[in-house]
Amino acid sequence: MERNEGETMKVDIVVIGGGASGLAAALSAKSDSNSVLVLEREAVLGGILNQCIHNGFGLHVFREELTGPEYASRFIEKFTEANIDYKLDTTVLSIEKPEDCFNIEAYNTEDGALTIEAKAVILSSGCYERTRGQIKLPGARVKGIMPAGSAQRYLNIDGYLVGKDVFILGSGDIGLIMARRMTLEGAKVHGVAEIMPYSNGLTRNIVQCLHDYDIPLYLSHTVTDIKGDNALESITIQEVDKDFKPIPGTEKMFDVDTLLLSVGLVPDTMVFETLDIELSEITKGAIVDHTYQSNIPGLFACGNALHVHDLVDWVTIESEKAGKSAKHYADDALKETRRLLTIEPLNGIRYTVPQFVDVNNFEAPITIMFRVTNKYDVGTFTVKQGDTIIQQKKARFIAPAEMESLMIKPDQLIDQTTPITIELEVKS
């Protein structure tokens, strides 16, 4: 692509982020009739998978167990074969949509300032980690407190350990994986504290990363004090009551130089800021219909930039759909006027993605992904329109950490106006 500094590039579909989500979306968005450009801020494609060197990826998509980089490389190969344009080390700083097209401003050292005009945009920029400030952790503000994913990057990409005596707050999957990883590299992991009465990670990670290495998991516990002179010296954890208030007398102190935080991930929607996009208060990502289109026509979102997933396999499947929709949009094959039918989470369901069905474009079966609010052994998910049950599904080992899904076919709808509801029934 020859161009002069400051000259505008024209592309049909721009994909922001070249990780698991962006690669899958770009692959399905590409056709003979349209051009696709992937913008990736890192020096390599693959996104966060590159630092996830543990196995467990691909069980659903490939029916085999791959490491993160292996999973990524399967898509990078296909992507390269498909001859899709991409730019590495390139950061998008703004997206605007003055009229029918999007204007994207991105930067790298080679092209300088890139201004791109695109018909459709797929946001697949992943997520960021919640920080100490966001969870309002009390105590001394010292060096040695870091999100678990940042420590993972230092260890797996750069080859450096951040500390030797480690405690982990939060039982999210990255924290659990890092407990094992740092142990294997010679650090002592003193424990993992989780404020909830159950873990927020996958069960297999609790077993394979904590139990197998005798790392204690303190459920219903949180960090209530941090001490140190410039650098972290010790932390105190305390048991919490039902209202998450620390219970006096339950203090346990650990002499550690590192506190890793695995306290949640948030979709990175920062580049949206200049657009008037509707975001969900729960997922913190865009509110989308089943084509993964947001309230801004031509703007699609998928992967962890839409809502945080526990398995990359679901990211791939979701992003392929978003990519396909963007292709249809660019080809004018998606009906422009949307007619939105709400999918409402009721009892026991925290959120759904998508949040709407666009009945004008509802021709094939769609998957609704959702998370529950609490942990149960067995339960039944019921999908209704008004009082009419349109689908039911029994499930075992239901937990907020594990994403659930349901499929709905167009002919299951009783009408095109009554909102769809999903609820969870459990036997007490």
Partner: protein
């Protein structure tokens, strides 16, 4: 022999250094930390108060109003961000309305311009998110907000451009009065001689004062203030600084829009004995939430990205203590500088140099004093055309290191090698804001660490977060051949 030794590199010490650099004198500023602007200067509300609060006739009142009037030119000369926010003081009950009317009179007496009392309906038109149940509002249009640590950095850089010198990691461990001037011991192993000493050591001012005073005229009683920072997405939630009616504990918890779009909530006010403890307490953070809700409704607390706390160098003396030592007129205490210290800072520098030292009579003025600091416009504030030009000149402007605050590699590298530099992760953050945004360095810290190592030609394991012994990485894991 050095003419002036200034102890302490906060806004006070650095602005005094700059004021003195207008004269033909030698100046050395000593800072015990590895960066300047590290304590009260780093952790405060960033407000340039109008001067409605201090008691008429006090030095605080005089220097606050004067300081406020100096900020506009200071911000132009030193290229410091300054927003003309204005402020509302809000009364919730009849007692508070009475106090507010008293403050209105006091503001006029102190010489504050454009003050007015507003009815709540009128005030709400200008601040729709103001809390319900407010009975009366004191409007203070001259209140402004600035960026405190950049003042210290800029003032010292400008002083340096005009001949002043400074040293970091230089803790004064002893001061001995000599027949002529003083001997200052640094880090217990080095001695220098100086004619004058300016004691601008913040919470440690009383400990240094003891070397020259038989009986200390003041004691520093640190008063901690804790804060929340809201992400810049909150920009526009309020335009003005919102104050409650002050109490005996101070100005109370405020809602303060910041120059980069963030909002600060705080501070709390708790006396403590320790001079280093800047912890956050869950209870105190809760108070901030409770009290800020009395000022504004629908505060988006879910946009909190950081907590911090700082110590005010409150003293037992009822006013700023800016006086020569009893027996040594060439030792000047600039102590007890709590609120409105930031506002007063440029006026304090002027007062010390012009009034106490009578510099115009005692020293000769430099003919070539340059009041302007050299500073490039930040990349993110540039137009597209300017950005293209910057990148054509230096490709590293095309590498966005910090996505949240839009900071480029060129700017980080420049900060590492800048005149008043502190090449640590936080030192860079203080200068170019890499890591100040929503992800709090989750993404850019890794790159900043590598850039510091590359530019200083040091191993990654030697790159520090901030103070001593704060290397971010412990050890390399890969087996080396």
């Amino acid at each position: 022999m050095i003419d002036f030794t200034i102890i302490g590199g906060g806004v006070i010490g650095t602005l005094i250094a700059r004021e003195l650099s207008k004269y033909n004198v030698s100046i050395l500023l000593l800072e015990k930390e590895n960066d300047i602007g590290n304590h009260a200067t780093l952790a405060n509300s960033a407000i340039v108060h109008s001067g409605h609060d201090p008691k008429p006739g006090s030095l605080k009142a005089q220097l606050c109003v004067r300081g406020n009037s100096l900020y506009e030119s200071l911000s132009k000369e030193l290229k410091i961000p300054l927003i003309f926010s204005g402020a509302f003081v809000m009364a919730r009950d009849t007692d508070e309305v009475e106090t507010l009317e008293m403050l209105y009179q006091r503001a006029i007496q102190n010489g504050v311009k454009q003050v007015a009392l507003l009815d709540p309906e009128e005030a709400r038109k200008q601040e729709p998110n103001m809390a319900d149940g407010i009975l009366k509002v004191l409007d203070l249009p001259t209140t402004k907000v600035t960026y405190p640590w950049e003042i210290a950095i800029a003032a010292l850089q400008n002083a340096q451009e005009n001949g002043a010198q400074y040293r970091l990691n230089a803790k004064v461990t002893k001061i001995t009065p000599l027949e002529e001037g003083f001997e200052i011991e640094i880090n217990e192993d080095e001695r220098i001689n100086t004619q004058y000493v300016i004691n601008a050591a913040g919470v440690y001012a009383d400990e240094l004062g003891k070397f020259v005073e038989q009986e200390m005229p003041y004691k520093i009683t640190p008063r901690r203030g804790e804060y929340y920072v809201l992400d810049k997405k909150v920009k526009g939630f309020v335009e003005r600084v919102l104050y409650p009616v002050p109490s005996e504990k101070g100005k109370g918890v405020l809602v303060v829009p910041q120059v980069h779009g963030n909002i600060l909530l705080g501070p709390t006010s708790e006396f403590q004995d320790e001079k280093e403890n800047r912890d956050n307490h869950s209870d105190h953070l809760h108070w901030i939430k409770r009290d800020s809700e009395k000022l504004a409704k629908n505060i988006p607390f879910d946009l909190i990205i950081r907590t911090f706390s700082g110590l005010r160098a409150t003293s037992t003396y009822s006013d700023f203590y800016i006086q020569p030592a009893k027996a040594y007129p060439q030792f000047i205490h600039v102590a007890g500088i709590d609120s409105p210290g930031l506002t007063a800072a440029p006026a304090i520098a002027e007062y010390v140099v012009n009034t106490l030292l009578n510099a115009d009579e005692t020293f000769t003025k430099k003919k070539d004093f340059n009041p302007f600091r050299t500073k490039k416009k930040p990349f993110h504030e540039s137009t597209l055309e300017e950005k293209i030009a910057l990148i054509l000149d230096d490709r590293r402007y095309g590498n966005i290191v910090c996505k949240c605050e839009r900071v480029t590699e060129a700017e980080v590298v420049e900060a590492i090698h800048s005149a008043v530099s502190s090449p640590t992760v936080k030192g860079i953050k203080k200068r170019v804001r890499a890591g100040s945004g929503l992800c709090q360095g989750g993404y850019c810290e890794n790159t900043v660490v590598k850039l510091i190592a590359r530019e200083l030609k040091i191993p990654l394991t030697e790159v520090e977060y901030y103070e001593k012994n704060t290397a971010i990485l412990w050890k390399e894991t890969k087996v080396k051949r």
